[in-house]
Amino acid sequence: MHTGHYISGGAHGALILWLLLGGVFDSAPPEMQVADVSILSEAEFAALTQPRAAPVLGAEPEVLPEPEPEEAAPEAPAEESQPQTPPEPEEPAASEPDATPEPIAPVAEPEVAETPPQPPAPEPVPQVEAPEIAARPTPRPAPRVAPQAVPEPEPEAEIAPEVQETVERSETPDSTADEEQEATAPEAAATEIVTEAEEPARAPAASVRPRTRPIRPAPSEVAEQEASPASEPAPAPERPPVQSSDTASAIAGALEEALGGAANGAPEGPPLTDGETNGFRIAVQECWQVDVGSQAANVTVTVGFDLDRSGRVTGALKMLASEGGSGAAAEAAFQSARRAILRCQGNGYDLPKDKYDHWKSVEMTFNPENMRIR
């Protein structure tokens, strides 16, 4: 009778014990950050924080003496520069700044003896369908940097310093007796490190234009095709085999699977922006004449209609829903909404043509709640 209670109690107890003893709430100590510090004496600290007095300007600007770079110029750094220790803080100068500060000589260019190896000529990029490739050549990325760039070896080749081709045993008897050997190739290498930041060099300069939808045959054409017995039905095109290595098709397949096929019915291209939607709304509301004292002012009506590519209403406007008021009031509200849509369309509502899929069908709700007589 109390079996359930016992099981529940036992399970809860076990859970509590596991939580307490299992180290669930233990968290790893944060990594300790170690930094080097140096100790300053009180005098040094005071010297560092003492504000400097502003220079006193004379009535006539003094002519500064010509700097003498030869005397003040430091020695050029050696070829192999040694890490320098930070200089000890010097005693601050007198409270009055120097009237003639010494100019700092420019640092001499270090002489570099080694010249970097010339990068290999970029391989011509194969012409693929659409993407435009940036013209800047980029070194082939490789995990190894070497003076000589080495292309990626064949998958079957073994890594070796020398390049040798595969030699297989020939089945023909008169073949020359070459010794069997396995293909070798040096490890792939590049002349410089290619970081992720440089990867966009291979990115397309312009996005790929989406393919246009296939034009559906009109119903009449379909009927004609079905009605004509002479025309042999064209053989169904063989679907190209899906290659597992094809990344694009793999992504498309994953998308289709994840979205349950909904992606096929979704409009293409980016959706309308708020500005575009608001522009459409304002264009209609400027023509929506509300009779604030009527019963129709108590009705919220939703009107559905289609637009052609020029932004003009095509087909009939339909009342999809109404809320509040009598049937006659709803009809009057619908007529008012219909007149607003038709009257303000002019030569077509100003909507982006490239987003036609997003506005070819419209459901517009006219809610006069804010305009009723109070």
């Binding site: 909904a262 009779d291 004292g293 009031a329 009057a332 006069p368 709640e369 007589i373 109070r374």
Partner: protein, 440 residues
């Protein structure tokens, strides 16, 4: 732990993906909450005269239609001088592009023919921007004397087809016609079209008459007459212009009568001594029933359209305020709480509002409020505005306005319930105490 959270988040995203995709697909949905409040432009060319005698009538009828529609404040006529197309035949196709070009949203075309004293008027209403006809063509027939009424009927049809509500143009108003100086004014009962045309007098000038009220069927008129020296409620048959005293108790003043919606009962005020209460009387049997019994003045009763309630004015709280009680009497609840004094309440034919007269700070106002007293709005203000009465469709209120001074005169005005359109009703003489009859 982080891996578990990440896995759960990924699972949630995966499950939500179809919903997101579906939300982005489908039609573009837009909600519009702001519009414009302005009259709708329309065009009404002269009706085509199909007979030689109808030439003038065609013009006159189209002018009456235009006056009716434009007088509502809901419509604005596009001047005839701006018309591009000329309608020369009732059956000719409409050049919608020409009417669109002058921004006429509605177009009314018609034709008139006269034959043997009979007038036939036919018309069509067009939705210009949709390029379709609104409703179907219709025609009326009548005598040449009744052409104005036919024009009103056409205007009512147009109004109804565009707004979805019934019109009020083919209706009449009973009122008190006033003539002579203020200190010796002659008052007669008169009836007219809603626009002030076709005035007919119902009583002579030998007695003072007050507060006429139409019955809901428009066949009878109740009014108060001082014919016997004491105020008495009379009922007048409009068709025969015959009247009789409805309540004849000697030594008792009765006034402020009004019909119940069924036309079988009349409510009125009765003064006995210093107390005035509201009574109801069955017209057929003459039996009376007292509805209020407070030691104060209760008067100006008005039924709700369904006959279940009565709104009236009372000074039981110290000042005149509005109260609502059941039609059978009983406890009343106060609905007016603003500053000033409220009087002459009238229930709207639509049942949603009550019109009243308000006096405050030396001025008079015509206002409306909800039947529970909320949303009070004052529509007019002047030296003296009083006696509101509703149009049959509950969209317009007619009232009397009197000007100040010894030479001041009373005249009738209409105002729509938004307060935007105030129009004076042209009457041959001064006028007061209007009561709007039903649509004929």
């Amino acid at each position: 732990m982080k891996q578990i959270v990440a896995a759960l988040a990924a699972l949630l995203l995966f499950c939500a993906a179809p919903g997101i995709a579906l939300a982005q697909s489908g039609p573009l949905r837009i909600e519009i909450t702001e519009g414009v409040v302005e009259p709708m432009p329309y065009a009404v060319p002269d009706f085509v005269a199909e007979t030689a005698e109808a030439q003038q009538l065609g013009q006159q009828i189209s002018r009456v239609i235009a006056d009716d529609l434009s007088g509502t404040g809901l419509f604005r006529e596009v001047p005839r001088e701006a018309h591009i197309s000329q309608v020369t035949s009732f059956g000719s196709p409409i050049q919608f592009a020409d009417w669109k070009a002058i921004n006429a949203q509605a177009l009314i075309t018609g034709a008139v023919s006269v034959s043997g004293g009979q007038v036939t008027v036919k018309f069509r209403v067009w939705d210009v921007f949709a390029g379709t006809e609104l409703g179907q063509g219709m025609q009326f027939a009548g005598t040449t004397e009744g052409w104005r009424r036919m024009a009103h009927k056409v205007a009512d049809q147009v109004y109804s087809r565009i707004t979805g509500e019934s019109g009020y143009f083919d209706s009449r108003v009973v009122f008190v016609s006033e003539s002579g100086p203020k200190d010796n004014r002659v008052k007669r009962l008169a009836v007219m079209d809603y626009d002030g045309a076709n005035v007919q007098f119902l009583t002579g000038s030998n007695s003072l008459v007050l507060a006429p009220r139409f019955s809901d069927d428009g066949q009878r008129v109740l009014y108060t007459s001082y014919e016997t020296g004491m105020p008495r409620v009379h009922v007048l048959e409009v068709g025969t212009v015959q009247s009789r005293i409805l309540q004849g108790q000697d030594g008792v003043m009765s006034f402020a009568p009004r019909f119940a919606p069924d036309g079988q009962t009349v409510v009125y005020s009765l003064t006995q001594g210093s107390n005035t209460d509201i009574w109801a009387m069955d017209i057929a049997s003459g039996t009376t029933r007292q509805l209020t019994s407070a030691p104060s003045i209760e008067t100006a009763p008005s039924y709700s359209p369904d006959g279940s309630q009565i709104v009236f004015e009372s000074d039981r709280s110290g000042t005149q305020q509005l109260y609502v009680m059941p039609a059978s009497g009983g406890e009343a609840r106060r609905i007016s709480f603003g500053e000033g004094r409220y009087s002459a309440p009238v229930w709207s034919p639509r049942g949603d509002m009550i019109a009243f007269t308000k006096q405050n700070a030396g001025r008079f106002f015509i206002g409306v409020m909800r039947t529970d007293g909320s949303e009070e709005r004052l529509l007019t203000a002047s030296f003296l505005d009083e006696g509101p009465t509703w149009a049959p469709n509950g969209r317009v209120i007619m009232f009397a306005r009197e000007t100040q001074g010894a030479q001041g005169a009373s005249s009738l005005y209409t105002v729509d319930i938004s307060g935007r359109k105030l129009t004076r009703v042209r009457t041959p003489e001064g006028a007061s105490d209007p009561s709007w009859g039903p649509l004929q």
